[in-house]
Amino acid sequence: MMRTLRQWLVPALFLAPALLVFTWFKFIPMALGLRMSFYKVNFGAPNEWIGLENFSRVLEDEALGAAAWNTFLYVSCTVSLSVVLALLLALSMQGVTRHIRIIRTALFLPAITSAAVLAEVWRILYAPTPDGIMNSIAALFGITAQGYLNDPDWALQWLMLMHLWKSVPYDMVIFVAGMATINQELYEAARVDGATAWQRLRFVTIPGLTHAITIVIVLGMIRGFRVFAEIQATTGGGPAGATEVIMTRIYKLGFVQFDYGYASAASVVLFVFTALCTMLYLQCRKRLEA
């Protein structure tokens, strides 16, 4: 018994500040939010208990289902592409490039933009006029002027590109930090053994980066499922619902229409789904490591 308590003493002390803050400002609001999902939230009058009605509405909402599909596409494409591109970029930042401060700083600029600025900048780039930037570039390759964010068939893909513009530098920084912690002696040993650059990459760098890759993938997933601000600021879920994601739908139903109970219920479903996916991924990783 004392042994178990002893085991907890030090971790508890170290975890205390974080857990305190989380309890007050995250767990309690989350619990309140969960509670709201069982009610119809009224403003002058007390809330009405409606049990699981909000949840059944959520599961029956077709538009929400379509939004969930869009979200799934968005997450899978952006996370996978971002990991690969960020890794490539981080690798290219090794060697000679390390001296060129401007490049390193410049690459980081997209990572520090907020969603609102991101939307503004890309709205300019995606101008559907023939002399808009993207169209000018497309013209060089002989592609006709596109509608970009106005095109219901491709708007989601263009938004993914916009997301990558920001997430690739962001993830690159994490990978660079990860590379810094790889034991240099491993590289020396590999070189001595006559390993090629590709072999060094496969057997030293990437294994050394598993933690960084986990971070990037897990966070990419979590953030991707609840993506909101950048989509709301550019297309608001349009045109014709082509870029509707779960959060834009929840926002419209819950906040524009003041149905907080429903918004909470939908968010709880999103939360459960995200948690399941994350746990699944972490379990898979544990299996692979063993």
């Binding site: 002390l13 939230v41 009224n42 403003f43 002058g44 009058a45 709205r123 101008a127 559907p128 006029t129 002399d131 964010l149 106005n150 219901p152 709301q232 550019t234 297309t235 608001g236 879920g237 349009g238 045109p239 014709a240 619902g241 419209k252 906040f255 524009v256 229409q257 003041f258 907080y260």
Partner: protein, 441 residues
């Protein structure tokens, strides 16, 4: 753990408590003034300056202090949060479109028109915007407005075209602006009609409303007894939407990116000279006078369509929350605001401010005289003769979102069968009416 760390840890709890308490005290400030009211306004920082000049005159007259809070974005969300948290102010001044929502939220006190001193001087049309769907009044109008059409006069005169009066004129003018190189720079970079067609916040519906009324259509038709039925499947609605589809998809005379444009982008399109025709509110008169410039822009009545004339009108209302602490003070403030003195102060943009009263709701005040600008006479006439307001259903915001998304879909995909798509949209409209319990059987 080292002794000094343990000591530090033990200090934290009481220190935290003290810091929190001290900040709370410092932050609460001088809230407990003797007789004061809290007023929340949906206005920008410049609008607030004008409200403050009104407050100054009011305090001088009655001794009641006014504490303002203004917000431009997220206003309704703040109100909702305050309602849940029990922090509502004594008075809320917001766009008249919010009436249905506030009433549905159940947070407003009904207004007795007779009890408002000077209320009989206000325009009947303005009072109408304060009516809830149950027939009671829930606010006092403080400002009115009607949309007008802004046209690039320099472009029009260069192409030698008359002032557009009808849809056909508008179509011809838009075509000319798009193909006639009115800015003379040799490039095909000008367009005709500015159309904020984004699905965000239902802008597409908000903008189309004027054209719907010009076609004699209604989004939802009242059938009496506080009930409505969807009007999107009527021939008039088909005429309006088909015409806009023609402008957008066939003639391509709207600005590029129209389908994703919220009003900020639409404003930029007009100001920068990307497009030359814009139906917008009179609050833009001052902005467009600055850029593109008063000599280049003319403000004229919106055109007449197959069903006559019609534009979106509206205004601002003062709402009285049930949970207010100083109801008497709030009423006095509103009475001052609707008096000729208050209205005039509201219309004159005080140093660095902008007008918070566009058209006076008080019949005794002449807008053209106060502003020294004949264009306001035109706006007042439009308001009196042709202004329509959004239907008085419990939650128009929700309906506007539904219709906005539907119209955005039809126009952005250049629908091949508008009638069928409108029928489908009407089903959604009726579903929404039913959810709000006002669907006529």
């Amino acid at each position: 753990m080292k002794p000094c760390d343990r000591f530090a840890f033990s200090l934290i709890r009481p220190l935290f408590g003290t810091v929190v308490a001290v900040s709370a005290v410092l932050a609460s400030g001088a809230a407990c003034a003797q007789d004061s009211i809290q007023v929340w306004t949906r206005s920008s920082a410049e609008g607030r300056k004008t409200y403050e000049s009104i407050a100054k005159a009011f305090t001088a007259k009655t001794g009641i202090k006014v504490e303002y809070f203004n917000a431009w974005t997220d206003f309704e969300q703040r109100i909702a949060r305050a309602a849940i948290g029990g922090d509502l102010p004594d008075l809320i001044i917001n766009d008249s479109g919010a009436t249905g929502q506030f009433v549905q939220m159940g947070m407003l006190e009904a207004v007795d028109r007779q009890a408002v001193a000077g209320g009989q001087d206000l325009q009947e049309r303005a009072w109408a915007t304060a009516k809830g769907y149950d027939g009671k009044y829930y606010g006092v109008p403080t400002s009115a407005q009607a949309m007008v059409m802004y046209v690039r006069k320099d472009w029009r005169t260069k192409l030698q075209l008359p002032v557009p009066q009808t849809w056909d004129d508008l179509e011809a003018l838009a075509k000319a602006f798009t193909h006639g190189d009115p800015d003379g720079d040799g490039k095909a970079n000008t367009y005709g009609l500015v159309f904020p067609g984004s699905a965000q916040r239902g802008y597409a519906a908000w903008y189309m409303s004027s054209f719907m009324w010009q076609a004699g259509a209604e989004f939802v038709r009242p059938v009496g007894g506080g009930l409505f039925k969807g009007g999107m499947d009527e021939p008039a609605a088909l005429a309006a939407v088909s015409w806009m589809r023609k402008m957008q998809c066939e003639l391509k005379v709207t600005q590029p990116g129209a389908m994703n444009a919220p009003t900020q982008e639409a404003n930029k399109a007009f100001i920068s000279g990307q497009a030359g025709i814009y139906i917008s509110g009179p609050y833009h008169i001052a902005l467009f006078d600055r850029e593109p410039g008063r000599d280049k822009v003319e403000a004229i009545p919106a055109p007449s369509g197959p069903g006559g004339r019609g534009v979106l009108g509206g205004g601002e209302l003062a709402y009285f929350p049930k949970a207010a602490k100083n109801k008497a003070g709030a009423l006095k403030f509103v009475e001052f605001l609707i008096s000729p003195e208050g209205q005039t102060l509201g219309m004159k943009a005080s140093a660095g401010g902008i007008a918070v009263v566009r058209l006076p709701v008080n019949r005794k005040v002449d807008p053209a005289q106060v502003n020294n600008d004949e264009r306001w006479k035109m706006v007042a006439q439009e308001y009196e003769k042709n202004a329509h307001t959004m239907p008085a259903i419990p939650n128009w915001t929700r309906m506007q979102q539904v219709i906005g998304e539907g119209l955005n879909a039809i126009l952005s995909r250049c629908s091949k069968d508008v009638a069928a798509d409108l029928k489908k949209l009407n089903v959604h409209v009726n579903q929404e009416l039913s959810a709000q319990r006002v669907l006529a059987k």
